[in-house]
Protein backbone atom coordinates (compact mmCIF):
# COMPACT_ATOMS: atom_id res chain seq x y z
CA UNK A 1 0.00 0.00 0.00
CA UNK A 2 1.05 3.62 -0.44
CA UNK A 3 2.02 5.52 2.67
CA UNK A 4 -1.02 7.77 2.53
CA UNK A 5 -3.33 4.77 2.23
CA UNK A 6 -1.57 2.98 5.08
CA UNK A 7 -2.31 5.93 7.38
CA UNK A 8 -5.97 5.91 6.33
CA UNK A 9 -6.41 2.19 6.85
CA UNK A 10 -4.57 2.25 10.19
CA UNK A 11 -6.78 5.11 11.37
CA UNK A 12 -9.99 3.28 10.49
CA UNK A 13 -8.71 0.11 12.15
CA UNK A 14 -7.85 2.17 15.24
CA UNK A 15 -11.50 3.20 15.43
CA UNK A 16 -11.33 6.58 13.75
CA UNK A 17 -14.89 7.36 12.71
CA UNK A 18 -14.67 11.01 11.79
CA UNK A 19 -12.41 12.52 9.17
CA UNK A 20 -12.51 15.98 7.65
CA UNK A 21 -9.98 17.24 5.14
CA UNK A 22 -9.23 19.54 2.24
CA UNK A 23 -7.24 18.51 -0.84
CA UNK A 24 -3.56 19.40 -0.95
CA UNK A 25 -0.62 17.62 -2.57
CA UNK A 26 1.16 15.35 -1.58
CA UNK A 27 -1.44 13.91 0.82
CA UNK A 28 -4.52 13.69 -1.44
CA UNK A 29 -4.57 9.87 -1.49
CA UNK A 30 -5.23 9.92 2.26
CA UNK A 31 -8.26 12.18 1.91
CA UNK A 32 -9.47 10.03 -0.99
CA UNK A 33 -8.94 6.84 1.01
CA UNK A 34 -11.00 8.19 3.88
CA UNK A 35 -13.75 9.32 1.49
CA UNK A 36 -14.04 5.81 0.15
CA UNK A 37 -13.52 3.74 3.27
CA UNK A 38 -14.52 5.54 6.48
CA UNK A 39 -18.18 5.69 5.47
CA UNK A 40 -18.19 1.90 5.18
CA UNK A 41 -17.47 1.66 8.91
CA UNK A 42 -20.48 1.98 11.20
CA UNK A 43 -21.04 5.63 12.12
CA UNK A 44 -18.14 6.69 9.90
CA UNK A 45 -18.24 10.32 8.76
CA UNK A 46 -16.24 11.92 5.96
CA UNK A 47 -16.54 15.61 5.19
CA UNK A 48 -14.60 17.39 2.48
CA UNK A 49 -14.34 20.73 4.20
CA UNK A 50 -14.21 24.17 2.61
CA UNK A 51 -10.78 24.79 4.14
CA UNK A 52 -8.21 23.31 6.49
CA UNK A 53 -9.50 25.69 9.17
CA UNK A 54 -12.98 24.24 8.87
CA UNK A 55 -11.62 20.67 8.87
CA UNK A 56 -9.76 21.05 12.16
CA UNK A 57 -12.79 22.66 13.78
CA UNK A 58 -15.05 19.90 12.48
CA UNK A 59 -12.85 17.26 14.07
CA UNK A 60 -12.70 19.33 17.27
CA UNK A 61 -16.51 19.31 17.43
CA UNK A 62 -16.71 15.58 16.72
CA UNK A 63 -13.92 14.91 19.23
CA UNK A 64 -15.91 16.73 21.90
CA UNK A 65 -18.75 14.24 21.39
CA UNK A 66 -16.31 11.37 22.05
CA UNK A 67 -15.63 10.28 18.47
CA UNK A 68 -12.15 9.23 17.35
CA UNK A 69 -11.14 11.89 14.85
CA UNK A 70 -8.48 12.70 12.31
CA UNK A 71 -7.61 15.34 9.76
CA UNK A 72 -4.68 15.53 7.38
CA UNK A 73 -2.95 18.05 5.22
CA UNK A 74 0.43 19.18 3.96
CA UNK A 75 2.60 22.05 5.13
CA UNK A 76 0.69 25.20 3.96
CA UNK A 77 -2.57 23.55 5.03
CA UNK A 78 -1.12 22.73 8.45
CA UNK A 79 -0.48 26.47 8.90
CA UNK A 80 -4.21 27.00 8.65
CA UNK A 81 -4.95 24.25 11.15
CA UNK A 82 -2.80 25.80 13.87
CA UNK A 83 -5.65 27.92 15.24
CA UNK A 84 -7.64 24.75 15.79
CA UNK A 85 -4.70 22.73 17.13
CA UNK A 86 -4.05 25.40 19.77
CA UNK A 87 -7.74 25.41 20.59
CA UNK A 88 -7.86 21.60 20.90
CA UNK A 89 -4.82 21.67 23.19
CA UNK A 90 -6.51 24.34 25.33
CA UNK A 91 -9.85 22.52 25.43
CA UNK A 92 -8.10 19.15 25.97
CA UNK A 93 -9.65 17.49 22.94
CA UNK A 94 -7.92 14.40 21.53
CA UNK A 95 -7.42 14.07 17.80
CA UNK A 96 -4.84 13.04 15.21
CA UNK A 97 -3.41 15.47 12.69
CA UNK A 98 -1.33 14.18 9.79
CA UNK A 99 1.20 16.44 8.11
CA UNK A 100 2.67 15.05 4.89
CA UNK A 101 5.33 17.74 4.60
CA UNK A 102 6.29 19.44 1.35
CA UNK A 103 8.78 22.12 0.42
CA UNK A 104 8.35 25.60 1.88
CA UNK A 105 8.23 28.36 2.98
CA UNK A 106 5.12 29.79 1.34
CA UNK A 107 3.66 27.57 -1.34
CA UNK A 108 7.16 26.12 -1.80
CA UNK A 109 6.74 23.02 -3.88
CA UNK A 110 5.16 19.59 -3.65
CA UNK A 111 8.42 17.67 -3.11
CA UNK A 112 9.25 15.90 0.19
CA UNK A 113 10.70 18.16 2.87
CA UNK A 114 11.25 18.39 6.62
CA UNK A 115 10.85 22.12 6.98
CA UNK A 116 7.97 21.94 9.46
CA UNK A 117 9.92 20.49 12.42
CA UNK A 118 9.85 23.75 14.37
CA UNK A 119 6.16 24.27 13.64
CA UNK A 120 5.31 20.75 14.78
CA UNK A 121 7.49 20.49 17.88
CA UNK A 122 7.26 24.07 19.17
CA UNK A 123 3.48 24.15 19.29
CA UNK A 124 2.79 25.82 15.95
CA UNK A 125 -0.20 27.79 17.11
CA UNK A 126 -0.21 30.43 19.83
CA UNK A 127 0.05 29.85 23.54
CA UNK A 128 1.88 27.59 25.95
CA UNK A 129 1.19 24.12 24.61
CA UNK A 130 2.87 21.15 22.99
CA UNK A 131 1.75 18.65 20.38
CA UNK A 132 2.83 15.01 20.55
CA UNK A 133 4.76 14.46 17.30
CA UNK A 134 5.47 11.03 15.82
CA UNK A 135 7.85 10.64 12.88
CA UNK A 136 7.51 7.31 11.06
CA UNK A 137 10.28 6.15 8.74
CA UNK A 138 8.75 3.01 7.19
CA UNK A 139 5.39 1.86 5.90
CA UNK A 140 5.09 -0.38 8.94
CA UNK A 141 5.72 2.55 11.25
CA UNK A 142 3.13 4.62 9.41
CA UNK A 143 0.61 1.95 10.38
CA UNK A 144 1.81 1.37 13.94
CA UNK A 145 2.39 4.99 14.88
CA UNK A 146 -0.91 6.16 13.39
CA UNK A 147 -2.70 3.66 15.64
CA UNK A 148 -0.55 4.68 18.62
CA UNK A 149 -1.25 8.36 17.94
CA UNK A 150 -4.95 7.82 18.65
CA UNK A 151 -4.15 6.12 21.96
CA UNK A 152 -1.70 8.84 22.97
CA UNK A 153 -4.17 11.59 22.03
CA UNK A 154 -6.82 9.92 24.20
CA UNK A 155 -4.48 9.18 27.08
CA UNK A 156 -3.35 12.79 27.39
CA UNK A 157 -6.47 14.41 25.88
CA UNK A 158 -4.41 16.45 23.47
CA UNK A 159 -3.78 16.56 19.72
CA UNK A 160 -1.13 14.20 18.37
CA UNK A 161 0.58 14.67 15.02
CA UNK A 162 1.98 12.24 12.47
CA UNK A 163 4.84 14.14 10.83
CA UNK A 164 5.87 12.51 7.58
CA UNK A 165 6.72 13.90 4.16
CA UNK A 166 5.81 13.49 0.52
CA UNK A 167 8.21 10.58 0.15
CA UNK A 168 6.61 8.67 3.02
CA UNK A 169 3.13 9.50 1.74
CA UNK A 170 3.73 8.40 -1.84
CA UNK A 171 5.97 5.36 -1.48
CA UNK A 172 4.60 1.80 -1.54
CA UNK A 173 5.59 -0.75 1.11
CA UNK A 174 4.12 -3.95 2.47
CA UNK A 175 2.57 -3.64 5.89
CA UNK A 176 0.94 -5.77 8.57
CA UNK A 177 -1.71 -4.00 10.60
CA UNK A 178 -1.55 -4.75 14.29
CA UNK A 179 -4.67 -5.31 16.32
CA UNK A 180 -6.01 -2.05 17.71
CA UNK A 181 -6.21 -1.74 21.48
CA UNK A 182 -9.75 -1.46 22.81
CA UNK A 183 -10.50 2.18 23.43
CA UNK A 184 -11.04 3.45 26.94
CA UNK A 185 -12.04 7.09 26.85
CA UNK A 186 -14.05 8.22 29.87
CA UNK A 187 -17.59 9.34 29.11
CA UNK A 188 -17.25 12.24 31.54
CA UNK A 189 -15.12 14.04 28.96
CA UNK A 190 -17.72 13.65 26.21
CA UNK A 191 -20.27 16.29 25.32
CA UNK A 192 -23.40 14.40 24.33
CA UNK A 193 -26.26 16.48 25.72
CA UNK A 194 -27.02 16.89 29.41
CA UNK A 195 -29.90 14.38 29.54
CA UNK A 196 -31.60 14.85 32.90
CA UNK A 197 -28.32 15.80 34.53
CA UNK A 198 -26.07 18.78 34.90
CA UNK A 199 -24.95 20.50 31.72
CA UNK A 200 -21.26 20.60 30.83
CA UNK A 201 -19.15 23.03 28.89
CA UNK A 202 -15.79 22.78 27.19
CA UNK A 203 -13.75 25.94 26.91
CA UNK A 204 -10.27 27.31 26.55
CA UNK A 205 -11.19 30.87 27.48
CA UNK A 206 -10.35 31.64 31.10
CA UNK A 207 -10.73 35.35 31.72
CA UNK A 208 -9.47 35.18 35.30
CA UNK A 209 -5.65 35.16 35.05
CA UNK A 210 -5.33 32.97 38.15
CA UNK A 211 -7.61 30.33 36.61
CA UNK A 212 -5.80 30.67 33.32
CA UNK A 213 -2.40 30.33 34.96
CA UNK A 214 -3.52 27.17 36.75
CA UNK A 215 -4.88 25.79 33.46
CA UNK A 216 -1.49 26.43 31.83
CA UNK A 217 0.32 24.67 34.69
CA UNK A 218 -2.12 21.79 34.43
CA UNK A 219 -1.28 21.44 30.73
CA UNK A 220 2.43 21.74 31.59
CA UNK A 221 2.22 18.88 34.09
CA UNK A 222 0.56 16.79 31.42
CA UNK A 223 3.37 17.57 28.96
CA UNK A 224 5.94 16.67 31.62
CA UNK A 225 4.24 13.28 32.02
CA UNK A 226 4.40 12.79 28.25
CA UNK A 227 8.11 13.62 28.28
CA UNK A 228 8.72 11.14 31.07
CA UNK A 229 6.86 8.19 29.57
CA UNK A 230 6.35 8.45 25.83
CA UNK A 231 9.80 9.00 24.29
CA UNK A 232 10.55 6.72 21.33
CA UNK A 233 13.76 6.36 19.35
CA UNK A 234 15.71 3.82 17.36
CA UNK A 235 19.43 3.25 16.88
CA UNK A 236 21.42 1.38 14.25
CA UNK A 237 25.03 0.21 14.62
CA UNK A 238 25.86 2.68 17.38
CA UNK A 239 27.63 0.07 19.57
CA UNK A 240 31.09 0.46 18.04
CA UNK A 241 30.56 3.76 16.23
CA UNK A 242 33.04 6.62 16.12
CA UNK A 243 30.41 8.88 14.63
CA UNK A 244 26.60 8.89 14.76
CA UNK A 245 24.22 10.39 12.22
CA UNK A 246 21.07 11.86 13.79
CA UNK A 247 18.10 11.90 11.42
CA UNK A 248 14.35 11.18 11.39
CA UNK A 249 11.75 10.04 8.88
CA UNK A 250 12.80 9.94 5.24
CA UNK A 251 16.17 11.50 6.07
CA UNK A 252 16.87 8.60 8.44
CA UNK A 253 16.09 6.07 5.69
CA UNK A 254 18.51 7.78 3.34
CA UNK A 255 21.10 7.98 6.13
CA UNK A 256 20.70 4.28 6.86
CA UNK A 257 21.40 3.47 3.20
CA UNK A 258 24.46 5.72 3.26
CA UNK A 259 25.73 4.17 6.50
CA UNK A 260 25.40 0.64 5.07
CA UNK A 261 27.58 1.69 2.12
CA UNK A 262 30.19 3.29 4.39
CA UNK A 263 30.24 0.32 6.79
CA UNK A 264 31.22 -1.89 3.86
CA UNK A 265 34.31 0.32 3.53
CA UNK A 266 35.04 -0.08 7.24
CA UNK A 267 33.83 3.31 8.47
CA UNK A 268 32.37 2.95 11.97
CA UNK A 269 29.25 5.04 11.65
CA UNK A 270 25.89 4.56 13.38
CA UNK A 271 22.41 6.10 13.25
CA UNK A 272 20.30 7.63 16.01
CA UNK A 273 16.70 8.10 14.90
CA UNK A 274 14.20 10.02 17.05
CA UNK A 275 10.71 8.56 16.54
CA UNK A 276 8.95 10.99 18.86
CA UNK A 277 10.13 14.46 17.82
CA UNK A 278 8.23 15.91 20.75
CA UNK A 279 9.03 14.68 23.27
CA UNK A 280 12.58 14.59 21.84
CA UNK A 281 14.75 11.66 23.06
CA UNK A 282 17.03 14.11 24.82
CA UNK A 283 18.31 11.90 27.65
CA UNK A 284 18.89 8.94 25.35
CA UNK A 285 21.00 10.99 22.97
CA UNK A 286 22.88 12.55 25.87
CA UNK A 287 23.61 9.09 27.27
CA UNK A 288 25.13 8.12 23.93
CA UNK A 289 27.48 11.09 24.11
CA UNK A 290 29.24 9.46 27.10
CA UNK A 291 31.17 7.32 24.64
CA UNK A 292 30.53 8.80 21.18
CA UNK A 293 31.79 12.33 20.63
CA UNK A 294 31.03 12.99 16.95
CA UNK A 295 27.61 13.63 15.50
CA UNK A 296 26.23 14.59 12.13
CA UNK A 297 22.68 15.89 11.98
CA UNK A 298 21.07 15.36 8.61
CA UNK A 299 17.73 16.95 7.79
CA UNK A 300 15.77 17.88 4.69
CA UNK A 301 15.78 21.46 6.00
CA UNK A 302 18.37 24.12 6.84
CA UNK A 303 18.66 22.76 10.38
CA UNK A 304 15.75 22.59 12.79
CA UNK A 305 16.08 19.34 14.77
CA UNK A 306 19.72 20.43 14.97
CA UNK A 307 18.71 22.76 17.82
CA UNK A 308 17.25 19.87 19.83
CA UNK A 309 20.40 17.84 19.24
CA UNK A 310 22.51 20.76 20.52
CA UNK A 311 20.28 21.07 23.59
CA UNK A 312 20.58 17.34 24.22
CA UNK A 313 24.36 17.17 23.82
CA UNK A 314 25.00 20.41 25.74
CA UNK A 315 28.40 21.01 24.18
CA UNK A 316 29.78 17.61 25.24
CA UNK A 317 30.20 16.44 21.65
CA UNK A 318 31.13 17.74 18.24
CA UNK A 319 28.07 18.36 16.02
CA UNK A 320 28.18 18.78 12.25
CA UNK A 321 25.18 19.48 10.07
CA UNK A 322 24.14 18.63 6.55
CA UNK A 323 20.84 19.92 5.17
CA UNK A 324 18.90 19.66 1.90
CA UNK A 325 15.97 22.08 2.19
CA UNK A 326 13.12 23.06 -0.10
CA UNK A 327 12.18 19.66 -1.48
CA UNK A 328 15.66 18.38 -2.40
CA UNK A 329 16.19 14.70 -1.54
CA UNK A 330 19.72 13.24 -1.84
CA UNK A 331 20.35 9.61 -2.78
CA UNK A 332 22.04 7.38 -0.18
CA UNK A 333 25.28 7.45 -2.21
CA UNK A 334 25.28 11.26 -2.40
CA UNK A 335 24.76 11.43 1.35
CA UNK A 336 27.44 8.76 1.86
CA UNK A 337 29.96 11.06 0.16
CA UNK A 338 29.04 13.90 2.52
CA UNK A 339 29.24 11.65 5.60
CA UNK A 340 32.56 10.18 4.46
CA UNK A 341 34.17 13.65 4.16
CA UNK A 342 33.10 14.55 7.70
CA UNK A 343 34.07 11.11 9.05
CA UNK A 344 37.53 11.39 7.55
CA UNK A 345 38.13 14.64 9.45
CA UNK A 346 37.48 13.20 12.92
CA UNK A 347 40.38 11.97 15.04
Amino acid sequence: MSGNNIIGEAAIRAGCRFYAGYPITPQNELTEYMAEHIRKAEGGVFIQSESEIAAINMIAGASATGARVMTSSSSPGIDLKQEGISSMAACELPGVIVNIMRGGPGLGNIRPSQGDYFQATRGGGHGDYRTIVLAPATGQELADLTMDAFDLADKYRTPAMILADGMMGQMMEPVIFKKAKPRSYPEKFMLRGAGDGKSKFIRGLLLDPIDSEEHNWKLYRKYEAVKKTEVLWDSYLTEDADMVVVAYGTAARIAKGAIKRLREKGAKIGLFRPITLWPFPEMELRALSAKIKNYLVFEMSTGQMLEDVRLALQGYAQIEFHGRPGGAVPTPSQLANVIAKIYDKID
Partner: protein
Protein backbone atom coordinates in the same frame (compact mmCIF):
# COMPACT_ATOMS: atom_id res chain seq x y z
CA UNK B 1 -56.90 26.94 40.26
CA UNK B 2 -53.80 28.91 39.43
CA UNK B 3 -51.86 28.56 36.23
CA UNK B 4 -48.23 29.48 35.69
CA UNK B 5 -48.04 31.87 32.74
CA UNK B 6 -44.49 33.17 33.19
CA UNK B 7 -41.42 31.75 34.87
CA UNK B 8 -37.67 31.48 34.65
CA UNK B 9 -36.87 29.10 31.78
CA UNK B 10 -35.50 25.77 32.98
CA UNK B 11 -32.73 25.93 30.37
CA UNK B 12 -31.56 29.34 31.58
CA UNK B 13 -29.15 29.28 34.51
CA UNK B 14 -29.81 31.57 37.47
CA UNK B 15 -26.78 33.73 36.78
CA UNK B 16 -26.89 37.51 36.40
CA UNK B 17 -26.16 38.46 32.78
CA UNK B 18 -22.84 40.23 32.30
CA UNK B 19 -24.21 42.02 29.25
CA UNK B 20 -24.49 45.82 29.21
CA UNK B 21 -27.83 47.43 30.08
CA UNK B 22 -30.08 47.44 27.02
CA UNK B 23 -28.09 44.76 25.16
CA UNK B 24 -30.10 42.34 23.04
CA UNK B 25 -28.08 39.22 23.86
CA UNK B 26 -29.91 38.50 27.11
CA UNK B 27 -33.27 38.68 25.35
CA UNK B 28 -32.05 36.37 22.59
CA UNK B 29 -30.67 33.94 25.20
CA UNK B 30 -33.97 33.87 27.03
CA UNK B 31 -35.96 33.38 23.85
CA UNK B 32 -33.81 30.39 22.85
CA UNK B 33 -34.09 28.88 26.34
CA UNK B 34 -37.88 29.25 26.33
CA UNK B 35 -38.00 27.46 22.98
CA UNK B 36 -35.68 24.68 24.22
CA UNK B 37 -37.98 24.23 27.24
CA UNK B 38 -41.15 24.21 25.16
CA UNK B 39 -39.74 21.66 22.72
CA UNK B 40 -38.44 19.55 25.63
CA UNK B 41 -34.98 19.25 24.11
CA UNK B 42 -32.74 20.54 26.93
CA UNK B 43 -31.15 17.13 27.50
CA UNK B 44 -30.27 16.55 23.85
CA UNK B 45 -29.17 20.06 22.88
CA UNK B 46 -25.54 21.07 22.33
CA UNK B 47 -24.74 24.74 21.78
CA UNK B 48 -21.68 26.38 20.26
CA UNK B 49 -21.12 29.94 21.50
CA UNK B 50 -18.84 32.30 19.55
CA UNK B 51 -15.91 34.55 20.27
CA UNK B 52 -17.41 37.92 21.13
CA UNK B 53 -19.69 39.19 23.88
CA UNK B 54 -21.59 35.89 23.94
CA UNK B 55 -18.43 33.85 24.51
CA UNK B 56 -19.63 33.32 28.09
CA UNK B 57 -23.01 31.98 26.95
CA UNK B 58 -22.29 28.76 28.83
CA UNK B 59 -22.77 30.76 32.02
CA UNK B 60 -26.42 31.23 31.02
CA UNK B 61 -27.51 28.30 28.86
CA UNK B 62 -28.09 25.21 30.97
CA UNK B 63 -27.32 22.90 28.04
CA UNK B 64 -24.06 21.24 26.97
CA UNK B 65 -21.82 23.76 25.24
CA UNK B 66 -18.40 24.00 23.63
CA UNK B 67 -16.67 27.22 22.66
CA UNK B 68 -15.53 27.65 19.05
CA UNK B 69 -12.61 29.74 17.82
CA UNK B 70 -13.73 33.00 16.20
CA UNK B 71 -16.01 32.27 13.26
CA UNK B 72 -15.70 28.50 13.36
CA UNK B 73 -18.99 27.73 15.09
CA UNK B 74 -20.74 26.24 12.05
CA UNK B 75 -17.76 23.95 11.30
CA UNK B 76 -17.69 22.74 14.89
CA UNK B 77 -21.47 22.38 14.95
CA UNK B 78 -21.24 20.36 11.71
CA UNK B 79 -18.75 18.02 13.39
CA UNK B 80 -20.95 17.59 16.46
CA UNK B 81 -24.12 17.03 14.45
CA UNK B 82 -22.56 14.52 12.07
CA UNK B 83 -21.09 12.60 15.00
CA UNK B 84 -24.39 12.71 16.92
CA UNK B 85 -27.20 13.10 14.36
CA UNK B 86 -29.97 12.69 16.94
CA UNK B 87 -28.86 15.66 19.04
CA UNK B 88 -30.06 19.23 18.50
CA UNK B 89 -27.10 21.43 17.67
CA UNK B 90 -27.04 25.19 17.37
CA UNK B 91 -24.35 27.81 16.94
CA UNK B 92 -24.76 31.31 18.29
CA UNK B 93 -22.84 33.89 16.30
CA UNK B 94 -22.35 37.62 16.03
CA UNK B 95 -22.03 39.61 12.83
CA UNK B 96 -18.23 39.62 12.78
CA UNK B 97 -18.15 35.95 13.65
CA UNK B 98 -20.65 34.94 10.98
CA UNK B 99 -20.25 37.43 8.16
CA UNK B 100 -16.54 38.32 8.33
CA UNK B 101 -14.06 35.86 9.81
CA UNK B 102 -16.48 32.93 9.70
CA UNK B 103 -18.26 33.63 6.40
CA UNK B 104 -16.68 30.60 4.74
CA UNK B 105 -17.65 28.23 7.56
CA UNK B 106 -21.19 29.67 7.70
CA UNK B 107 -21.69 29.66 3.93
CA UNK B 108 -20.48 26.09 3.49
CA UNK B 109 -22.32 24.65 6.49
CA UNK B 110 -25.44 26.19 4.92
CA UNK B 111 -24.53 24.90 1.47
CA UNK B 112 -24.01 21.37 2.77
CA UNK B 113 -27.46 21.66 4.28
CA UNK B 114 -26.13 20.68 7.69
CA UNK B 115 -29.07 19.88 9.90
CA UNK B 116 -28.16 22.54 12.44
CA UNK B 117 -29.59 25.87 13.58
CA UNK B 118 -27.63 29.10 13.48
CA UNK B 119 -28.67 32.02 15.65
CA UNK B 120 -27.13 35.11 14.10
CA UNK B 121 -27.04 38.26 16.24
CA UNK B 122 -26.68 41.34 14.04
CA UNK B 123 -25.93 44.49 16.01
CA UNK B 124 -23.96 46.24 13.27
CA UNK B 125 -20.83 46.54 15.41
CA UNK B 126 -18.06 44.55 17.12
CA UNK B 127 -19.22 44.67 20.72
CA UNK B 128 -16.66 42.89 22.83
CA UNK B 129 -13.60 44.49 21.27
CA UNK B 130 -15.00 47.96 21.82
CA UNK B 131 -17.15 49.06 18.90
CA UNK B 132 -15.22 48.54 15.68
CA UNK B 133 -16.82 48.36 12.24
CA UNK B 134 -18.63 45.10 11.50
CA UNK B 135 -19.48 43.63 8.10
CA UNK B 136 -23.06 44.68 8.88
CA UNK B 137 -22.21 48.25 9.99
CA UNK B 138 -24.51 50.66 8.18
CA UNK B 139 -23.20 53.18 5.63
CA UNK B 140 -22.37 56.43 7.44
CA UNK B 141 -22.48 54.64 10.82
CA UNK B 142 -19.62 55.77 13.05
CA UNK B 143 -17.53 53.14 14.77
CA UNK B 144 -14.03 53.27 16.26
CA UNK B 145 -12.60 52.03 12.95
CA UNK B 146 -14.91 54.10 10.76
CA UNK B 147 -14.63 57.27 12.83
CA UNK B 148 -16.12 59.52 10.18
CA UNK B 149 -18.78 56.98 9.24
CA UNK B 150 -18.66 53.87 7.05
CA UNK B 151 -17.86 54.86 3.48
CA UNK B 152 -18.77 52.53 0.67
CA UNK B 153 -15.66 53.46 -1.32
CA UNK B 154 -13.32 52.54 1.53
CA UNK B 155 -15.21 50.02 3.61
CA UNK B 156 -17.69 48.35 1.26
CA UNK B 157 -21.35 47.77 1.90
CA UNK B 158 -23.23 46.28 4.85
CA UNK B 159 -23.40 42.52 4.25
CA UNK B 160 -26.98 41.33 3.89
CA UNK B 161 -26.69 37.84 5.22
CA UNK B 162 -30.29 36.65 4.81
CA UNK B 163 -30.47 37.99 1.25
CA UNK B 164 -27.25 36.15 0.35
CA UNK B 165 -28.06 32.92 2.19
CA UNK B 166 -31.51 32.76 0.62
CA UNK B 167 -29.72 31.85 -2.64
CA UNK B 168 -27.93 28.85 -1.11
CA UNK B 169 -29.38 25.49 -2.06
CA UNK B 170 -28.77 23.80 1.30
CA UNK B 171 -30.76 26.34 3.31
CA UNK B 172 -34.21 25.25 4.48
CA UNK B 173 -35.40 28.05 6.74
CA UNK B 174 -34.22 31.62 6.97
CA UNK B 175 -35.84 34.51 8.81
CA UNK B 176 -34.76 37.94 10.01
CA UNK B 177 -36.33 39.32 13.19
CA UNK B 178 -35.54 41.92 15.81
CA UNK B 179 -35.68 42.10 19.58
CA UNK B 180 -36.24 45.84 19.65
CA UNK B 181 -39.95 45.66 20.59
CA UNK B 182 -42.27 43.25 22.42
CA UNK B 183 -43.85 42.32 19.09
CA UNK B 184 -40.38 41.73 17.66
CA UNK B 185 -39.43 39.49 20.58
CA UNK B 186 -42.59 37.42 20.09
CA UNK B 187 -41.84 37.06 16.38
CA UNK B 188 -38.26 36.14 17.15
CA UNK B 189 -39.42 33.40 19.50
CA UNK B 190 -41.74 31.98 16.84
CA UNK B 191 -38.92 32.05 14.31
CA UNK B 192 -36.43 30.38 16.65
CA UNK B 193 -39.00 27.73 17.46
CA UNK B 194 -39.63 27.11 13.79
CA UNK B 195 -35.89 26.79 13.15
CA UNK B 196 -35.36 24.26 15.96
CA UNK B 197 -38.47 22.34 14.86
CA UNK B 198 -37.03 22.28 11.33
CA UNK B 199 -33.90 20.64 12.72
CA UNK B 200 -35.89 18.20 14.87
CA UNK B 201 -37.80 17.15 11.75
CA UNK B 202 -34.48 16.53 9.99
CA UNK B 203 -35.17 19.11 7.30
CA UNK B 204 -31.77 20.79 7.17
CA UNK B 205 -30.09 24.11 7.73
CA UNK B 206 -31.98 26.88 9.48
CA UNK B 207 -30.81 30.33 10.46
CA UNK B 208 -32.49 33.15 12.36
CA UNK B 209 -30.93 36.59 12.07
CA UNK B 210 -31.79 38.76 15.04
CA UNK B 211 -31.33 42.55 14.84
CA UNK B 212 -30.11 43.34 18.32
CA UNK B 213 -29.28 46.44 20.34
CA UNK B 214 -25.79 47.51 21.37
CA UNK B 215 -26.41 50.80 23.25
CA UNK B 216 -22.86 50.93 24.64
CA UNK B 217 -21.10 50.91 21.29
CA UNK B 218 -23.83 52.77 19.44
CA UNK B 219 -23.50 55.44 22.15
CA UNK B 220 -27.26 55.64 22.49
CA UNK B 221 -29.76 55.13 25.28
CA UNK B 222 -31.53 51.79 25.44
CA UNK B 223 -34.75 53.33 24.17
CA UNK B 224 -33.00 55.14 21.32
CA UNK B 225 -31.24 51.90 20.38
CA UNK B 226 -34.58 50.15 19.95
CA UNK B 227 -35.80 53.08 17.89
CA UNK B 228 -32.66 52.98 15.76
CA UNK B 229 -33.32 49.37 14.88
CA UNK B 230 -36.95 50.05 14.02
CA UNK B 231 -36.35 53.27 12.10
CA UNK B 232 -32.88 52.84 10.55
CA UNK B 233 -31.52 49.29 10.67
CA UNK B 234 -34.69 47.62 9.42
CA UNK B 235 -34.52 49.78 6.27
CA UNK B 236 -31.20 48.15 5.36
CA UNK B 237 -32.07 44.80 6.91
CA UNK B 238 -35.82 44.28 6.44
CA UNK B 239 -37.28 41.65 8.77
CA UNK B 240 -39.18 38.76 7.24
CA UNK B 241 -38.97 35.18 6.07
CA UNK B 242 -36.26 34.91 3.39
CA UNK B 243 -36.57 31.25 2.66
CA UNK B 244 -38.98 28.57 3.80
CA UNK B 245 -38.66 25.14 2.23
CA UNK B 246 -40.16 23.38 5.22
CA UNK B 247 -43.57 22.64 3.70
CA UNK B 248 -42.07 21.53 0.38
CA UNK B 249 -39.56 19.22 2.04
CA UNK B 250 -42.25 17.73 4.26
CA UNK B 251 -44.44 17.11 1.23
CA UNK B 252 -41.53 15.46 -0.56
CA UNK B 253 -40.85 13.27 2.45
CA UNK B 254 -44.50 12.23 2.61
CA UNK B 255 -44.50 11.48 -1.11
CA UNK B 256 -41.52 9.19 -0.66
CA UNK B 257 -42.88 7.28 2.32
Amino acid sequence: MSKIIFQHPQSLKHNVFHYCPGCGHSIAHRVICEVIDELGIRGITIGVPPAGCAVLAYNYFDVDMIEAPHGRGPAMASGIKRALPDRIVFSYQGDGDLAAIGMAESFHAANRGENITVIFINNAVYGMTGGQMAPTTMLQQRTTTSPTGRKQALDGYPVKVCEIFSQIGGVTYLERCSVSSPAGVNKTKKAVRKAFQCQMDGLGFSMIEILSMCPTNWKMSSVDSCKWIDEVMTKEFPPGVYKDNIAALKKNAEGQS
